[in-house]
């Protein structure tokens, strides 16, 4: 007998994909989406499926690859975080017009909060923008079913479909029972049809008309798409207030109404919100005097309701316009809406003032920090030491935490360390100001979006130092391999493409590789690079600071471990605590000086170099 197994939401999505016979899955890692592809790989191996999975170099690349697979008649998926869909937007907009042959699901994971992202953007808006259907699961089980539904819909209507699980689906755990996993033997085929697959603007107009007709048909399908879209109205009955809830918020609303036994409040669940199920929503609107809309993160459904008198939501100020709709927030929203309409409120089982009490405790702010032994810490220390007056443009990854070391001044989007460095250079150069600039970017981020910016910077003769922080992995998102290693998603060997070669190919003539654990050497090298940058005959200098991540390469990262201690020479100046910020360094209140937490210390020995008084020594 099959029994329940606990699945992470992302694992449930992976299961749904292979259960639906998905044969090609591509992805670029990003929280909260990163676990989907590794779970697909695991299932491909354990079930011996004829399926292909790859870590692509970025999200646009991932989508183009999956799109081609769908054009060839396969069922394909590509997975990314929501801001990754911005990178893939060019591809998405066009793919909507061209349509597919097989099935294509684009899984874009949203991060209301945000917990691990630059924005709280709502992928459902991207779906609306691109004119493709979107499904918004309320829990892992639904996400798994919707992965299959998305592929089936896509195949039936020849249109890409977006699945947008929010973080509380991706990183929820639930018990699921596995279904049958078919061996999909569908063969690739491509029938040439340039009018479609290479459509010129004149044909694009025709394709747009086709797309609009598809959306109309799918909207009708969504009117009756129970259990994802349905309401629990009693026919003929009128209600003073109804709640329209979508995605994760539906689960929250359902729990609250059931705990409070409020079956007097009808609910319209819309987990397939676009193309908008007009008839279903119309029924609900007609039966309710007011409709409270609870959706994450933006106003998608609210705009479709088009009735400013009746609708309570973000536009009316009933629902917060930023931040995650956590259960206590939704509880308050429902309670206030009820009371404002002179209806019976909720029981108000608040926290008894704990939130205020905790605020008053002024607890230490636990900001994330680089790990003990992290090579990025050494790099940032050296960079700041060598170029204290520089603008430090940086990028997205663990090393954004160089913020804590004063080594990061900007973080815009993937690849912007380089493009903002060139932008700053030209802005200051225009005013004859010799502004030092040091850009830092991780290895994976460089492969993702670094080259176009670097080509542009070289071509336009910008001047700055670029330090590529090469820890030989994609650390922040869970140690996915990079093209630099040549290890592929399934662990097999691919072709390694060394950073040095890519950088040289971008026209860089100053390329030096150094281990940042060699702090003195790194500081010397940055100073040398600065001279090259200032030289009229010079250019952009690239330093590859290469040292393996201490978490990904636990055994090899620190071959010569050094037990470190602090001597009585410590004058309690706090320089090491402020400028090196290693979790293993702390101020011992009894000793009145810095000490080492040996349990946390990685024994990298780098801190020995940094103490102005030489008080940190090998034990």
């Amino acid at each position: 007998m099959k029994h329940e197994e606990i699945f992470l939401g992302n694992g449930a999505i992976a299961l749904g994909l292979v259960e639906a016979g998905c044969q090609v899955v591509t992805s670029y890692p990003g929280t909260p989406s990163s676990e989907i592809l590794p779970e697909v790989v695991r299932l491909i191996k354990s079930e011996k499926l004829n399926a292909y999975a790859e870590w692509s170099t970025n999200e646009k690349v991932a989508l183009d690859n999956a799109f081609a697979a769908a054009v060839s008649g396969k069922r394909a998926a590509c997975c990314m975080k929501q801001v990754g869909l911005n990178v893939a937007a060019d591809s998405l907009m066009s793919a909507a017009y061209l349509g597919t042959n097989g099935g294509l699901v684009i899984i874009s994971c949203d991060d209301p909060g945000p917990h691990s992202s630059q924005t709280e953007q709502d992928t459902r808006l991207m779906a609306r923008f691109a004119k493709v259907p979107v499904l918004d699961p309320s829990d892992p089980e639904e996400a798994r079913q919707m992965a299959g539904l998305a592929l089936a819909l896509s195949e039936e209507f020849k249109i890409p479909v977006i699945l947008r699980p929010a973080i509380r689906v991706c990183h929820a755990r639930q018990g699921l029972i596995r279904g049958e996993i078919p061996h999909n033997g569908r063969k690739a085929s491509f029938e040439k049809d340039p009018g479609r697959w290479a459509a010129t603007p004149r044909f694009r107009f025709i394709l747009h008309g086709e797309l609009n007709r598809k959306l109309k048909d799918i909207s009708q399908r969504f009117d009756t798409l129970a259990p994802y879209n349905f309401h629990n109205l009693t026919p003929g009955k009128r209600y003073p207030l109804g709640i329209l809830a979508a995605g994760v918020s539906y689960a929250v609303v359902k729990d609250i109404l059931s705990e409070e036994a409020r079956d007097d409040i009808p609910v319209l669940k819309l987990c397939a919100p676009y193309p908008f199920p007009e008839r279903l929503a119309g029924e609900f609107m007609s039966a309710c005097d007011k409709v409270l809309v609870i959706e994450e993160t933006d106003t998608v459904i609210e705009y479709f309701l088009r009735d400013r008198e009746k609708v309570l939501g973000r536009l009316s100020g009933n629902v917060p316009s930023e931040g995650e709709l956590v259960p206590e927030a939704v509880y308050g929203v429902i309670d206030r809406a009820l009371r404002s309409l002179d209806l019976k409120g909720l029981k108000n089982s608040g926290d008894g003032g704990a939130a205020e009490l905790v605020k008053g405790l002024h607890l230490p702010i636990r900001k994330p920090t680089l790990c003990p032994g992290c090579p990025h810490r050494a790099s940032f220390f050296a960079i700041r030491k060598a170029r204290p007056k520089a603008i430090f443009t940086s990028d997205i990854g663990c090393y954004t935490l160089g913020l804590n070391l004063g080594g990061v001044d900007t973080c815009l989007d993937m690849g912007a360390a380089i493009t903002m460095a060139s932008g700053f250079y030209h802005s200051f150069a225009q005013d004859q100001i010799d502004q030092p600039i040091v850009a830092t970017i991780g290895d994976s981020t460089f492969y993702h979006s670094g080259t176009a910016g670097l080509l542009n910077a070289v071509y336009n003769d910008a001047r700055f130092i670029l330090v590529i922080l090469d820890n030989m992995t994609t650390a922040m998102t869970g140690m996915q391999p990079t093209p630099g290693l040549g290890i592929r998603a399934d662990g097999s060997r691919g072709k390694a493409i060394p950073l040095e070669k890519v950088v040289a190919g971008c026209g860089i003539e100053f390329i030096e590789v150094i281990d940042p654990y060699d702090l003195k050497g790194m500081i010397r090298l940055i100073k040398k690079a600065a001279q090259y940058v200032s030289d009229p005959e010079g250019g952009i200098a690239v330093i590859i600071a290469r040292h393996p991540c201490v978490i990904a390469y636990r055994q090899e990262a620190i071959p010569n471990k050094v037990k470190v201690t602090v001597t009585e020479d410590c004058v309690d100046c706090n320089f090491c605590l402020d400028r090196f910020e290693c979790p293993a360094l702390y101020r011992d209140e009894t000793l009145g000086r810095t000490a080492i937490n040996q349990a946390l210390c990685a024994q990298c020995g780098v801190c020995i170099e940094i103490c102005p008084k030489g008080a940190i020594v090998a034990a």
Binding site: D139, A251, E328, D351, G352, A354, A355, L357, L363, K367
Partner: protein
């Protein structure tokens, strides 16, 4: 039944949550859990939610957790708003009283009980300093309702001996 587990990145909160969740599944119960991933795992505050029973959402609403397991005392305070009236707090700490006296009246008012266990020390003594999560979980599982004869009394948040008390029965998960 709602659990909140809190601590710092790297302490193994996710693993603790998984063990509790698997225990519930093995008993034929439904579970929903919510985890923290990503940047916060780099040493920041990490909170896991575990809900056992027939529930739809994965997050525990503030004021509705029966059990709070904290691997760090400051994180215990931070997660205190999750704890329901009459809830129980298990803290990894080498002492037997909450350091911040400001919260005592609140615990009394809300009839909350607090137990301490030096899980970090216990883990270090057993030779695996990383296992403080398992040490606290073991402590929690070794306790029962009977450890709290007088909920809300001062004796509760300044609990007695660490470790299972005679007469305790394993926590029924």
């Amino acid at each position: 039944m709602n659990f909140v587990l809190s601590g710092l990145g790297g302490q193994g909160i996710l693993f603790m949550t998984k063990l509790l969740a698997q225990t519930a599944i093995n008993r034929g119960l439904k579970i929903m859990a919510a985890e923290t991933h990503g940047m916060a795992q780099r040493g920041g505050s990490v909170v896991s939610h575990l809900r056992i029973g027939d529930v739809a959402g994965s997050l525990v609403r503030a004021g509705s957790a029966q059990i709070l397991l904290a691997l760090d005392e400051n994180e215990a305070y931070r997660s205190l708003p999750f704890l329901a009236r009459g809830g129980r707090l298990y803290v990894n700490a080498p002492h037997d009283v909450l350091v911040r006296e400001e919260v005592w009246p609140y615990l009394d008012k809300m009839e909350m009980a607090c137990r301490f266990f030096p899980a970090s020390e216990a883990a270090a003594e057993s030779g695996s300093p990383m296992a403080s999560n398992l040490a606290l979980l073991g402590f929690f599982c070794g306790l029962s309702e009977r450890a709290y004869p007088q909920r809300g009394s001062e004796a509760d948040h300044r609990s007695g001996e660490p470790g299972p008390v005679q007469g305790d029965q394993p926590e029924d998960l």
